[in-house]
């Protein structure tokens, strides 16, 4: 049996790195980190289902194709149309557009730098700013992270200056397109400085040219003292897409970070790793997720929260609706380290299984080393309550509308937390549109 070390894709990546012209990198620290990362990847290869964190998500079938690492020509009109289609209607927002990981200033609408500053990542990686971000302790041993660290070339850098409350939300459109099977590894860096506040709405879409897109992206986020960041991730990709994300967030003292993750039916593979490091006291963290899994999708959300200081609150609700032959994985780790007294950590994961062919693997994982803490977690897997369905139908509501109402009700804990009404409406309408077909066919 061929193992991953003999797959064409692994060999291709190894050759690519080893044959790349050396000396192009002026930053020796970065160069070393790339080499270290590459060595790890070369030695261990892609994760397999033998790895604890990949037990239920077998990457192998998604890596059998060959992928190109260099983008060919793209049709500008197609790109423009796709960007327009991805704009959230009625949202008054700044706009940052990335095409295949590359910042597109001509398609973006950005303010003066006194609101916030955007640069292509390439322009930042050799500067002082980037020093702190070259290595990432929590990602040590993570081979997908290592692969990104070895190869990444583009992405965006966004920095909000001290004391600035950004006057509008920022919609960030990540558009992927490919004329042949493509492998993308962008890397992004977000810094929200002291006392600043921002709302980022990241929408990931693809042109759906029937070519396979494999994406392995890394984001590093820092929310400085007293700062506040709301980050939405809406993954609304085409079936040919395979998305692997690693989002590392560091929160300094008294900061607040809210993350909303919405996985929609589409991409055949979604694997998100969201890692929160609480690097100061009195922080507040909200992680809210909705995964709708349909068709043959595999959607995997891994989250980890590291409580390292006292008086920090974290609150996590992930809800999944499973349709068709969808498969979902949820793994929520909460680490409360010894100094983190007076921690409040709450985690909840609920799954609504609407098809007997769908599957869900859910694992809450709490590791608590402090004694004066309040932590709780709960995990459920259920179906529609027949009593509720009958009650609604007995009032003249069709079975289909009744299901819709009950799905809406199921998701309510998460959707009610979306403070931006336009985004809330947008997400809800996307959900219904995407689920309509599957909902209509449940027996």
């Amino acid at each position: 049996m061929a193992d991953q070390f003999t797959t064409p894709f692994y060999n291709q990546l190894v050759a690519e790195f080893e044959n790349a012209p050396k000396g192009e990198e002026t930053n020796s620290e970065l160069l070393k980190s790339r080499e270290d990362a590459f060595e790890l990847f070369k030695a261990k290869g892609f994760p397999t289902s033998k790895d604890e964190d990949w037990k239920f998500t077998n990457l192998t079938p998604f890596l059998t194709d060959t992928f190109s690492l260099t983008t060919g020509k793209v049709d500008q009109d197609q790109v423009k149309n796709a960007v327009n289609a991805a704009v959230i209607p009625g949202l008054d927002a700044w706009m940052l557009v990335l095409l295949n990981g590359e910042v597109q200033f001509d398609l973006s609408v950005l303010p003066e730098a006194d609101q916030f500053n955007v640069q292509p990542l390439e322009e930042v990686i050799s500067t002082e700013v980037y020093k702190n971000y070259i290595t990432c302790k929590e990602a040590e041993g993570n081979r997908m992270y290592a692969l990104n660290a070895a190869f990444f070339t583009n992405g965006y850098f966004l920095e909000v200056p001290k004391n600035i409350v950004v006057n509008k939300p920022v919609q960030i459109i990540h558009l992927y397109t490919a004329a042949e099977n493509m492998f993308f590894q962008p890397r992004h860096l977000i810094i929200v400085n002291e006392n600043a506040k921002a709302e980022l709405i990241e929408v990931s879409v693809s042109l759906g040219n029937a070519q396979r897109v494999l994406m392995n992206s890394v984001s590093q986020v820092t929310v400085k003292e007293n700062a506040n960041l709301i980050q939405y991730t809406i993954q609304d990709n085409a079936a040919e897409d395979r998305l692997i994300n690693y989002n590392h967030v560091t929160q300094e003292r008294s900061s607040r970070y809210d993350n909303f993750t919405f996985n929609l039916p589409g991409a055949e593979l979604i694997r998100n790793n969201l890692e929160i490091v609480l690097n100061g006291t009195a922080t507040e963290t909200h992680l809210l997720g909705l995964y709708l899994v349909a068709g043959h999708q595999l959607t995997d959300n891994h989250t980890a929260i590291h409580h390292r200081f006292p008086h920090c609150d974290s609150n996590e609700i992930y809800k999944g609706v499973l349709l068709d032959k969808g498969k979902a994985v949820f793994n929520g780790k909460v680490f409360v380290e010894r100094p983190a007294q007076k921690t409040n950590a709450f985690q909840q994961n609920n799954n609504l299984l609407l098809s007997d062919k769908a599957q869900v693997f859910a694992k809450p994982q709490l590791e608590i080393f402090a004694d004066d803490v309040k932590c709780s977690h709960g995990c459920t897997v259920g179906q529609f309550d027949p009593e509720s369905l009958f009650y609604l139908q007995s009032r003249g509501i069709s079975e289909e509308s009744a299901r819709k109402l009950l799905v809406e009700a199921f998701m309510f804990d998460v959707t009610q937390k979306i403070e931006n009404e336009v985004v809330k409406g947008y997400v809800q309408s996307l959900i219904y549109k995407k689920m309509e077909n599957s909902l209509a066919t449940i027996i």
């Binding site: 509720s388 009958f390 139908q393 009032r395 003249g396 804990d413």
Partner: protein, 257 residues
């Protein structure tokens, strides 16, 4: 309006309804009484179309249409309304959204024009006033956090909103305080018309003092064992059910000989 003929129904293989016959005409009020577990709620459930009941024999007609062929929502649109003995709480479904959806689907079916937001609000207010149902509905989930009595009032409020032909009230009176019972009964009396009909399932003669029935039936062991007028309810109040049970079992053993 409603015609039930020799209705038999099972739940989980166990026969619960054992040959019910009942005729309800427009403008009438029928009361159904009977000991616990005799099948009253089961009859209501079968009429409303609850899935886990299996009809094994018999027919049910609503104004010439075969009720048993219809899905629960179609029965509702055709004019059947069941006020539940135990209304469910549905967290996350807003009362208002629920009512609007229900009313809209019912009106479409009845070929009535849709209500504007303003008309809907006005109607909501009127009907809430009718049953003096003061609970705030906006921004609240369906029945969630409602007291037992509020849930019952909400059932009657929904009844008033949906304007059914045939209303089946399953122990709507239990859980209501003395004042509420009077208020809700008055509301129902106002809703009575020559074109609609009511089936009141109850254990208490008191309700029937407020809403005077044309007929009273006693359901026992899945059958209607006695029918009469409102005096029958008084007799039951006084004597209980034992005499009927004895009579029933007596006749049963005679039948067997």
């Amino acid at each position: 309006m409603l015609s039930i003929k020799n209705l038999h129904a099972n739940i989980e293989g166990k026969e619960i309804l054992k040959g019910i016959n009942l005729e309800v005409k427009a403008g009438e009020v029928h009361a159904i009484m009977g000991p616990n577990g005799s099948g009253k709620s089961s009859l209501a459930s079968v009429l409303a179309g609850r899935e886990n009941y299996e009809v094994t024999e018999g027919e049910v007609w609503l104004d010439g249409k075969n009720l048993l062929d219809m899905k629960p929502e179609v029965r509702a649109r055709e004019g059947v309304f069941l006020a539940f003995q135990y209304p469910v709480e549905i967290p996350g479904v807003s009362n208002i959204n629920f009512l609007r959806t229900a009313l809209s689907e019912i009106r479409t079916h009845r070929e009535l024009p849709q209500l504007s937001a303003k008309e809907f609000l006005k109607m909501t207010k009127e009907k809430q006033a009718l049953v003096e149902f003061e609970a705030k509905l906006a921004n609240r989930s369906l029945n969630q956090g409602f007291s037992g009595g509020e849930k019952k009032r909400n059932e009657v409020f929904q009844l008033a909103m949906l304007e059914p032909k045939l209303s089946i009230l399953d122990e709507t009176d239990s859980g209501l305080d003395i004042d509420a019972l009077r208020i809700v009964s008055n509301g129902i009396n106002k809703l009575r018309s020559p074109d609609n009909a009511f089936i009141l399932i109850t254990h208490y003669q008191r309700l029937l003092e407020y809403i005077v029935p044309d007929f009273v039936h006693v359901l026992y062991n899945g059958q209607i064992v006695r029918s009469g007028t409102k005096e029958l309810a008084l007799e039951l109040e006084e004597k209980g059910y034992d005499w009927l049970k004895e009579e029933f079992h007596g006749s049963e053993s005679i039948n067997k000989i």
